[in-house]
Amino acid sequence: MSPSPPLDGVRVLELTDESAEYCGRLLAGLGADVVKIEPPEGSPSRRLEPFLDDEPGPDRSLAFWADNVGKRSVVVPGGPDGDAAVRRLATGADVLVHTLRPAEAAARGLGSEDLEALAPHLVVCALTPFGSTGPWADYEADDLVLMALGGSMAACGYGPGPDGTYDTPPLAAHGEQAWRTAATYAAIAVMAALWWRDRGEDGRGQTIDVSAHECSASMTEWHCMTYLCSGAVHRRGPHPTLTAADGRQVAALNPDFLGPHVFANMLTMLEAEGVAGPLSDPAFADPVHRAANYREVWRAMKRLAEAHDGETLYRLGQSAGLPWGVIRSPDEVAEDAHLRARGHFVELDHPEVGRRVAYPGAPFLAHGSPWRMDRRPPLLGEHTAEVAAEWGVSP
């Protein structure tokens, strides 16, 4: 018997806008049958650019493709008939992931109490900007607002000028990172709730309340601790970066970040490359001296950078045990030999447009229960009849 993925046989209904679609992508990769409920005109994310060949169309949004690969699509009518269809499907599902605020969910007969009565075994996960409670529960947000309130923006951007003032704004990363973090937490919580349900005595599910704001607020490492410990507030500015001979940038942290032994390895490499200069002075064996004269360390690293292209510089650093990394654009990652050797990128056929498309695949290697990555993103309503037949309910 070939190994099956860990959530094989788990049925997930997804009634979400784009904010939570990454949750379903993860659950589908883990083997769940993720059925996306869509209105006749399609989910809002089908209208997000960029589009295949820049031509809009419900089956052409690459934003939709990226986060809906591996799912099936069922179209339900708009209005109360559609909500009734969702309730019918819910009785045959293990999980419902939605992005409805409590009042809207209740008005549509999809509130926690309605669903608990209808399908007590169901795990319901509501992902909303601020969660179902609290003074901001009804506030509106997109990813940028959540990156601002959560704290990552305050810590991302260019540094201040010589006078200490900032002439550029705090920056948020592209790629909807606050939503993705929240969606990942949602997937973890869904798995935990299923685990508990399947081991409990009453077989009952539960309701999970995910506040994207809280998830976003949790992702800035030591910043809260620094404030609690010292009263200092971490302010924005880039990590140190070397510019290689070909103009590529390489993230080059202080070697002492990894411990005192790393410098000796770096020195050996710099000497072999003929750029060590004053670092060969035994005084630099002392980390305190290095810290006080870090400018010389950095100058030697710059001499090395000027003699090599970015990819070579990255590998030279790594050969000396340094945590250096060449800065790649998202698509340049597809060329990485290491990730390719791990079988990370998976090509799927899109026969209706005559394309074969590479997607980022498994987030980890689990040979006993491999990531499922065999279904291209669904066409609008592609599986309406199929799911009705398999689940024994008519949408």
């Binding site: 003074p135 704290g151 704004p169 970040f257 030999a337």
Partner: protein
């Protein structure tokens, strides 16, 4: 709690790795950190230091692992308190001592999961690799978390968060047009890698429940990040529009909003984000701004028009925001139905964010050496099996080795005398 009854023998250190077991602990798993007194987890001993009550400690600043040994105690490193909630317990055992190794194998035999974040091959060298774990616990779920993982040509490469962020496109995705990437000034991928580490633990448990089989799950710090770029990856590979092109990344400008971005507010380097995605948001913005005359310009009548003239529009909006307190502007805009939020730093989240306070985001927890601090856990509410930042035991992060005796007694049935003998031999260091 949802994962009550699951026992994790946890060899993780630093952020990536510890984030994974923090999540499991907050969900009710019993997490036993295996530590060393001679090689403490670096974040136990590096700044910022948790101060004595009433004092301020040293900031993170120029801290490195090379000068981190100045801590007087292994229990004051501040970053440790970010990553080790979840009621984790701490034992100290010398894995390089033959009797220590035997003890650890005995603990593997009574654990469901083993987690670690050392360089690939380290546990094998100790005699605690997957094959040796299986010998004593055939269905063990072994989750390793390290930079490049355990398979592939570059497994010797080392990463910290910023390394992985550079290599996976995350650094590139933060920046203004025509300038080098600004990147992240913290290790976002320590968190993301840890989230996927927690998913791996759960995946391993589900697989074991279905088949009775354990496995080694190999988590790197790279693969959890590749899908975070969303459509950018596909736009390049499918449409041939590479991300590395003039004008990209676009700072805070997004195709979905106009006006949209971060605008200066009153005060020193204070900012507010406003995101107008719809005509309703636009009308709400104008209402909050008091219906300014410039808004009648027909170029601003449609979303596409506003997007095409974003620079000019942003100037008008900033003129309004720059005279206003960021929280007041946020409140007025939200009252008008406009997505808006203050750019908050760590102090703001701890002291000024009423939503985090109302949700109980921070939990006061301390330990024998450290007075209670507002700490974070799993930021998700499970209705019937609530997570707790203090884990099953509602405890703060552990002092180094505080649970050694209890764990050896409870789990391995060792007597006080036997434990004392091991301690005298240097096994419990």
């Amino acid at each position: 709690m949802a994962l009550q009854g699951v026992r994790i023998l946890d060899f993780t250190r630093l952020g990536f790795g510890a984030q994974a077991t923090l999540i499991c602990g907050c969900l009710g798993a019993e997490v036993i950190r295996v530590e060393s007194t001679t090689r403490p987890d670096p974040i136990r001993v590096m700044p910022p230091y948790v101060p004595e009550p009433g004092e301020h400690g040293e900031a993170f600043g120029a801290a490195t692992l090379a000068n981190a040994t100045s801590a007087q105690s292994a229990n004051r490193g501040g970053i440790f308190y970010k990553y080790n909630t979840g009621g984790k317990r701490s034992i100290t055992v010398d894995a390089r001592h033959p009797r220590g190794l035997a003890l650890l194998r005995d603990l593997v035999a009574v654990s469901d999961v083993v987690t670690e974040s050392f360089a690939a091959g380290t546990l094998d060298r100790w005699g605690l690799g997957y094959e040796q774990q299986r010998a004593v616990r055939p269905d063990v779920v072994y989750v390793s978390m390290c930079g490049f993982g355990h398979e592939g040509p570059d497994t010797a490469h080392v990463t910290m968060g910023p390394t992985a962020q550079a290599l996976t496109g995350l650094t590139f995705m933060v920046g203004l047009p025509g300038r080098p990437p600004a990147g992240w000034s913290f290790s976002y991928l320590d968190h993301v890698g840890g989230y996927l580490g927690a998913v791996a633990v759960l995946a391993g448990l589900f697989h074991r429940a279905r088949t009775g089989e354990g496995q080694h799950i190999d988590v790197s710090q790279l693969e959890p990040a590749t899908a975070l770029s969303g459509a950018l990856f596909l736009d390049a590979l499918v449409n041939g529009r590479p991300s590395r092109r003039p004008g990209f990344p676009t700072g805070n400008r997004r195709p979905t909003t106009a006006p949209g971005g971060a605008y200066r507010a009153a005060g020193d380097d204070r900012w507010i984000v406003i995101s107008c995605r719809t005509d309703d948001h636009w009308r709400g913005l104008l209402k909050a701004m008091g219906e300014p005359a410039w808004a009648a310009d027909p170029r601003f009548a449609t979303f596409d028009g506003r997007r095409a003239h974003a620079d000019e529009l942003d100037g008008h909006v900033e003129e309004w925001t720059s005279a206003r307190d960021r929280y007041e502007a946020m409140r007025d805009l939200q009252a008008a139905g406009v997505p808006a939020g203050a750019v908050q730093d760590a102090a703001d989240r701890l002291e000024r964010d009423p939503q985090l306070a109302a949700r109980g985001h921070f939990t006061l927890l301390g330990n024998e050496e450290v007075a209670p601090l507002p700490l974070e856990g799993l930021p998700v509410r499970l209705g019937r099996t609530p997570a707790h930042t203090g884990g099953l035991l509602h405890r703060g992060p552990p002092t180094l080795g505080r649970d050694t005796d209890a764990v050896l007694g409870d789990l391995l049935g060792m007597t006080e005398g036997e434990i004392e003998e091991l301690r005298a031999e240097g096994v419990l260091s």
